[in-house]
Subunit: 138 residues, 2 copies
Amino acid sequence: MRDVAEFYKVFSDEARLKIVWLLCHQSELCVCDIMGVLKMTQSKASRHLGTLKRAGLVRDRKEGLWSYYALAPGVEAPWLRAQLELLRQKLCERTDAAALLMQLHGWLSAKARGMPCRTDANQTSDKPNSTTSVSHGA
Amino acid sequence: MRDVAEFYKVFSDEARLKIVWLLCHQSELCVCDIMGVLKMTQSKASRHLGTLKRAGLVRDRKEGLWSYYALAPGVEAPWLRAQLELLRQKLCERTDAAALLMQLHGWLSAKARGMPCRTDANQTSDKPNSTTSVSHGA
DNA sequence: TGCCTAAATTCGTTTATCCGGATATATGCA
DNA sequence: TGCATATATCCGGATAAACGAATTTAGGCA
């Protein structure tokens, strides 16, 4: 039963929940996308992605310098799929989760019009001020 | 989203999972039942029950010296109900979870034929030897 | 080759969690 | 009242998580 507890432990961290939430809505994201959208340090993003990968919830694909992460095929197994669906259902009713999706879309469209990644900059903190964000073009 | 993570954290401990599993199969159990069946110290049983209660998953009813615990009415809310059902489903396929139910039934029938509780004895450890158990009558 | 950069890992620190033993609280009974 | 008992809570101590900064690893390109 330890491994069942282990599963819940993976979901017991807010940062990991946010990453999974993003990956439920965008098939692939690289580490710097996650850093940018969730405003977390590179070390934190990579660490949690590693945890999710070791748990079999996420897979990665290397392309040049970038690592693209996506939900693992294993999450199609019935029980995991149900868990993920339940999580999605719960987060759908949350404004903070919705805000994350806004951030995600802002980030992706900024990226689409040529914004570079820069993993070294903007490492200030988790919550510098909530409106720093993308501010692309406009 | 923190509180969602908090929910998973409650389920991320094997001892709490076991307690919930027992309460899925027996409507009410007192602390000493849980100590006896799961072979844990009184402090540990009470602590985890407190955690489950604070999370709203469990309720308690005092009767004289005893505290009887049961799943809280709140677990009938759709999302929690679904989570609990998923947990039950996962544990149903596990031999270790099944073994716990055997222990539970052994304990309850021993109790039914008059076995006293004794919270102070049998505090040796989590796993002294897996066959200590009830050994009623036979 | 040497530099730039994305991502992973290591390091030392801080914080959270879990534990058993001891103690406190409260009920039942003589 | 005083003692026995069931449970809750407190108290260090041990272990595990999580963190940011720094470093390492490795691909792309001049």
